[in-house]
Amino acid sequence: GTTGSASTTDITVVLFGDAEEITGYQSMVEAFEDENSDISVTLSPVATQDDLMARLTTSFAGGNPPDVFLLNFRRYGQFAAQGAIEPVQSYLDDSEVLDESDFSPRALDAFRYDGDELTCMPQNLSSLVVYYNEDLFDAAGLPYPEQGWAWDDFLAAASELTSGDHYGAGVAPSIIRLAPFVWSNGGEIVDDADRPTTLTLTRDPATREAVDWFLDLQLVHGVVPPDAEEQSESSEARFLRGTLGMYFNSRVAVPTLRTIDGFEWDVAPLPVAPGGEPVSILHSDAYCMSAGLPDQDAAWRFIEFAMNTGGQEILAESGRTVPSRLDVAGSPAFLEPDLPPRSSHVYLDVEPYLRATPRTATWSRVERESNALLEEVFYGRVDREEGLRQLEDSVRPLFDLQVGDDGS
């Protein structure tokens, strides 16, 4: 808590990330403390988002929540629904440092829990993209993917690249990987984006078409590594080793991919459905403040610093994040022409088309269970029709679950 002595205030910041990300946050905290000698920050990192949830629940339940914590937009609904988060809207409105218009509207919209007031400050604006191995494309005589390429182009390239222990594409079977394809095809993954009551993978024809296309990659065309192969060597490891043509991931992968020195690689937008839109899915984490603490001032000053140019640049330099501040995102600090990927603008080009999944209190659970069942279908462990039906059926009750006073 903010148990400060007369001169300095202590705040605790809980974040998640891998070792390298944490180093980035560390240097940002140091820069902040240099500028604000009256605030001392305890940086409290955890590895996974699961660990983060455990940490946050314990400290909220124990009455000692952190001042600032980082949450993915797919999880904050759970907290927001119970009023555990102090909305930042009023702070942002009063701020002399930050201005709402500096930030990506798509990212901000994702964090308006009631659709109106801003709940948390999104710090990044990542999205799903395609990383591809230029050397493999060259060897196969394929053109590099470009803006607006279509599903068929993608499939053709993937098939061409698949041979022996080489696979054309790597993608994790999960809702957030599947969703942009559905949206691109004009479908929806839930019946109502604001008050969803069920997944719509089977009932909406456009959705179903996209789902089948996605599943066919593995089940029919075999351009995605099968189950056992994926467990033995992740797609990322394959891509690093140069035996995977294309790899779907968000910006997160970049620091790791930068360790590649055996071949050239770049990033491309998602392929577009026939006659569809170049949609992608938002990946964004935001700084939230705990509700009910006596003094939010220090916490807000930390967020201000992190969201301001200086803070955003420090993180952008790690290569891992796409800054949510559009001015920083457009600056060399992010675009960095001397380090791969050359085409970082791809992340920014898609910004107007970014969409987000529902942000209800139980969404993270829905996603979790769906992913487990989708994996069963994707790797052919269960029959496709049966599997998808089961997926919808078993997940449907989760939409109705009440968490706190939400939904009543």
Partner: protein
Amino acid sequence: MTQTTRLSAARSGAPPGGRVRESVSGRRPGTRRAVHVLGRFAVPALLAALFAAPLWFMVTGSLRPAGLPPPRTLEILPPEPTLAAYTRLPELMPLFTYLGNSALVVAIAVPVTVVVAGLTGFGIRLLSRTARRRVLVGLLVVLLVPVTAVWATRFEVFRLAGVVDTFIPLLAPALLAVSPFLILLYAWSFGGIPESQLQAARLEGASWLAIWRRLAMPQVRPATLAVAVLAFTFHWANFIDPLLYLHSGDRYTLPLGLQFLRLLNPTDWPLLMAGCVIATLPCAVVFLFAQRILLSDDPLAALRGGRR
């Protein structure tokens, strides 16, 4: 001294596999020898190898060069063993800080565990029969409470005590002797000390605490050794308590660090195995020191051997 040797021989018994069976079997010498060697060495060696195998895979897996896909056939040793994975570990995380924190926690928690378990076990020894039975039922109930039931609610206690984000919550299991099982281990061992010894010491003016410290504890050193090893393993491997009750990154312990590692690349096996080796090594070393006594044919005799 003949008396002594015979006594200790009787104490260690003649287990069925040993001397007795050897002379019992009445088959022809050749077959008997074959069966004998098989029973005495081949089968145990096979089982021992089976149990050692996962550790072996762990070590050899960590010695493979990074980035290469693992072999698809069984290999006893990687073709070009390398320590590359180990040198990468400290680059990826503050390995030595984590190790230092873990060491500090263990250095405090293990003695505390031994003292609490020892005191409690001795207390049980002193109680009357009926009281003892009641305490044992109580211990069973304590054992019954799932750990998950207290994780979050304990935080409240720690917050009220103002010890969140210190190492003190990590000592909580030590104050609980890690598990009632360790207390039982002590109670059981203390049961072997004859009543007359306690009374003799009382007569000589020793307080119960002095009796515990000077008489009881020194006599159950194998139990202490066992408790210490088990406690070491527990505290060293403790993942949940640091996750929930530690906040400052620079106080983190090794298991939390291992978690960061897993996130980096879930199939970078050499790196993961190296992390596992580092996490396991201290426990293994501690245990290897203890096994000399703990697992010898006659632990008491082995202890005495160390004493002279």
